[in-house]
């Protein structure tokens, strides 16, 4: 058996491995970052819940030895809200894909952010519905191909970080599967915040998105992230043309608004004392 690293402590390694993700899929890299961030928190694994919807990314809880829930498509945040209110002491992590978070579960996403529900969301953004065969998702960039957009996508795409910022999340950050260390740090930082937090982890999909958009090799997908994602303060200084081809990463929002759970517990306390 393999010598254990930090990550291997939390895997259901005797049952579920090797995992079903395609060779070179960035989801495994993000899951590793997530696990190292959880390990840094030093919490008991019985006090961690990982909840997901449907999709490639949502296979994550299957592989992890925490309290896990694999729920219906797009509704992970609704289930997670229930878990958090039943056990406010628990660290509740929600793992979603891009289609799951802002496509099918878009309404849950904006309302969980509006409530400032104390959930730690990690969105795996691969720009496509990968598991079901490569349909265009709300985050597929304009002009890029998908199996339902053979001549290029004519829609505009969602920016998950902008959406989270405008709906009132407490912490919003973006990193990629190439920038593993930043990703781990942002996830760790989000765990220490109250309220709704979103970390968008941009990943590559060699099988569906990559094959149609000439990034077929996993290495090509990661090279793309390495060359085109730059820190936000540098991105702000670019000209308008350069902003079209480069993407910002880093921390977009970092505020401390009161979370839902704090208010909820205060309310219970004040009503009890009123009796």
């Amino acid at each position: 058996m393999i010598e254990q690293s930090v990550v291997h402590k939390y895997l259901r390694k005797n049952k579920k491995f090797p995992h079903i993700w395609c060779p070179g899929c960035g989801h495994g890299v993000i899951m590793g970052s997530l696990l190292r961030a959880i390990d840094k928190m030093g919490v008991d694994r019985n006090n961690v819940a990982v909840i997901s919807g449907i999709g490639c990314s949502s296979r994550t809880p299957t592989y992890l030895d925490f309290n896990t829930l694999h729920t219906t498509h797009g509704r992970a945040l609704a289930f997670a809200t229930g878990v958090k209110l039943a056990r406010p002491d628990m660290l509740v992590i929600v793992v979603m894909g891009d289609g799951d978070a802002v496509g099918i579960g878009g309404n849950h996403f904006i309302h969980a952010a509006r409530r400032n529900m104390d959930l730690k969301v990690v969105v795996y953004n691969n720009n496509i519905y990968g598991m079901t065969g490569g349909q265009a998702s709300p985050t597929t960039p304009s002009g890029k191909k998908a199996t339902t957009a053979r001549y290029g996508n004519i829609e505009r795409s969602f920016d998950i970080c902008d959406l989270a910022r405008s709906t009132g999340a407490n912490y919003v950050a973006r990193a990629t599967s190439y920038h593993v260390k930043q990703l781990e740090n942002y996830i760790y930082k989000s765990f220490n915040k109250k309220g709704f937090t979103v970390v968008e982890a941009v990943t590559h999909c060699p099988t569906t998105y990559g094959r149609l958009n000439s990034l077929k090799e996993p290495v090509a997908g990661m090279e793309f992230q390495k060359n085109n994602f730059i820190m936000k303060n540098l991105w702000d200084k670019l000209s308008d043309e350069e902003k079209q081809v480069k993407f910002p990463m880093g921390e977009f929002v970092d505020v401390d608004k009161e979370g839902f759970v704090t208010k909820y517990l205060n309310l219970i306390e004040s009503v009890r004392q009123g009796d």
């Binding site: 291997h8 895997l11 090797p18 590793g32 190439y178």
Partner: protein, 66 residues
């Protein structure tokens, strides 16, 4: 198993990410098996292959650890 690297071959799917992003370029992909091979004399144990391995197949020992 080498001195610096533990590699779990069964989990490796041969994507080549470890070899492509090794800062010392000390990993090569074996042509027959399509699995990585380390040149351990060159390896500085930075651990980036472990961090970027999507299949959790690599463990790099920390410097000084035996």
């Amino acid at each position: 198993m080498g001195k610096k690297i533990s590699f779990y071959e069964k989990w490796c799917k041969g994507c080549g990410i470890c070899a492509a992003f090794c800062p010392k370029k000390c990993i090569t992909m074996d042509e027959n098996t399509n699995k990585p091979v380390w040149n351990e004399d060159e390896c500085i144990q930075c651990g980036f292959c472990e961090l970027r391995c999507p299949d959790f197949a690599i463990v790099v020992k920390k410097k000084g650890e035996k």
